[in-house]
C-alpha cells in the first residue's frame, strides 16, 4: 500500500504552508516606503543613519532622564567630530513632533510596516492631524 492520496495531500499542504509568505504577498505591489520629511529642518538630533536603528533607545533614555532625573537638555553625541553639536529639549512632543508634524505619515509608516507597536502613545496624546 502506497497511500498515494494521503502522501500527495500532505506534500501539497506542506508546500502551501511553507510558501505562505509568497501567497500572502501575492497581488500586492512591493512599494518603497515614503516618509514625510520635515519641511524646514535638514538635520535631526543625531545622524539619520544612526536614528534609523537607534531612535527607540534615544527616546527611552530621554524619557528616563527627563521624567526621573529632570535632565531635560540633550546634546548630540553621534555626529562626526567637528560637527556643530546643537542642544535640544528631551521631548517627544516638543522636539520630535515639532519637525515631524504628522505621526501617521512619519512614525506610523515604519512602525506599521515592520509590525512594531511602540508604547509611546500609551502616555502621550497623539497629535491631532489634518490629513
Amino acid at each position: 500500500m502506497y497511500n498515494k492520496k494521503a502522501v500527495l495531500a500532505g506534500v501539497v499542504a506542506f508546500i502551501i504552508l511553507m510558501t505562505a509568505p509568497f501567497w500572502l504577498n501575492a497581488g500586492r505591489e512591493h512599494k518603497k516606503l515614503e516618509l514625510e520629511k520635515p519641511q524646514f529642518e535638514k538635520e535631526c538630533v543625531e545622524p539619520i543613519k544612526w536614528m534609523r536603528a537607534g531612535h527607540m533607545q534615544l527616546l527611552d533614555n530621554w524619557r528616563n532622564e527627563a521624567v526621573r532625573e529632570s535632565k531635560r537638555d540633550y546634546t548630540s553625541e553621534h555626529f562626526k567630530a567637528g560637527h556643530d553639536n546643537k542642544k535640544f529639549k528631551k521631548s517627544l512632543t516638543l522636539t520630535c513632533l515639532d519637525c515631524h508634524k504628522n505621526k501617521k505619515k512619519f512614525c506610523d509608516k515604519c512602525h506599521t510596516y515592520a509590525g512594531v507597536k511602540p508604547y509611546c502613545w500609551e502616555c502621550h496624546v497623539a497629535p491631532e492631524e489634518k490629513i
Binding site: 500500500m1 511553507m18 504577498n25
Partner: protein
Amino acid sequence: MSMLVSLIAVFGLVAVSYMMELVGLHTVLGIIIPYTAVLVFLGGFTYRIIDWARSPVPFKIPTTCGQQESLSWIKHNKLESPSTTGQVMARMFLEVFFFRSLFRNTKTDATEGPRLLYTSDKFLWLGGIVFHWTFLVIVLRHFRLFVEPVPGFVHLLESVDGFIQLTLPTFYMTDMVIVLVVTYLFIRRVVIPQVKYISLAADFFPLLLILAIALTGILMRYILKVNIVGVKELVHGLFALSPVIPDNLGSTAYIFYIHLFLVSSLLVYFPFSKLMHMGGVFMSPTRNLPNDSRKHRHINPWNDPNIKPHSYEAYEDDFRKVMKSVGLPLEKDVDGEEEGEK
C-alpha cells in the same frame, strides 16, 4: 571529535558569510542564496517524501500501546490502539503536536540486588516540546518581515511573546527560551553518557547551527541594531518576488547577512538530514496505521502468490502409513501393498 567538526562547520559558515558581506556580495547573500535555499528546501523536502512514498507499506504494523478493539464490553483504548481513521488521526495529532510517545519516557537505574528502578523522566520531552513550539513561534513572528501588510496573528503572537516589556526593542521571551533550550539539548548530548556515545556530527551540527541563528538574531535585534525597515524591504522583496538590496540597513548590516546566510544554510541542510523527521513522523507505519488488521485486509503490492506451503498432499504422501496407524482420516488410502498386509 564530531562536536568539534560541527563547531568548525558553523564557524566556517559565519566566517564565509561575513567575508562575502565585507567584499560587498550583497546580491548573492541577500537574493541569490536565499532563493536557492528556498528552492532546495522545498524541492528536497518534497523529493524525500515522495522517495519514501515510493516504497510501499507491505504490512499493517501499528505498535499497539493500549487495549485493542475486541469484545464490545472490553474498553477499547481508541488513542493507543486506534481502529478507525479518525482514531488514528487523533493519535497522530497528539504525537505530532504533543510528542505523546516521548511523554512516556522513563529513566532506568540499576541498583543493588540487582534491582532495576524505573522513574518517569520528562526532561527530554519538555526540552523537545519547548524547542519545537518556540521555534514555530519565532518563525511565525518573522511573518512581520515576510508579509505586507503585517498579518493579524503576528501582533497577537508578539504581544504574548513580548509580554514582559523589558528592553528596547521589546524583549521576546522566545529569544531567551530558544537559546536556553538549544543549549540544554546540546549539553545533554555531551553530558548524558548514553546519548554522548551515540551522537554524530549530524546531531551536533543542527543544534549549533540553530543556536548560531538564534544568537545572530538576538545580536541583530538587541545589540547591533540593524534598521528593521531595510530588513523588511529586503525580506519582503524576496517574498513579493521583487527582490531589492536596500542601502539603509546601517553600519551593522553584516550581522543581518550572516543571520540570513545561516538560515539559508539550515534550509539547504534540512532535506538531507535527520531534520526530515519533520516529514517522516507523519509516515511512520507503526503510528499512522489503524490496529484493524484482522478486520480489514491490508494489501501488499509485492505479495508473491507463488509462495505456497508444503502441501497437505505431499505431507500425506510422506506420512500416510503412520497417519493410518493412529487412525487419522486420509485423502488417499494406503496403497494395495499395505492392504495386503492386513
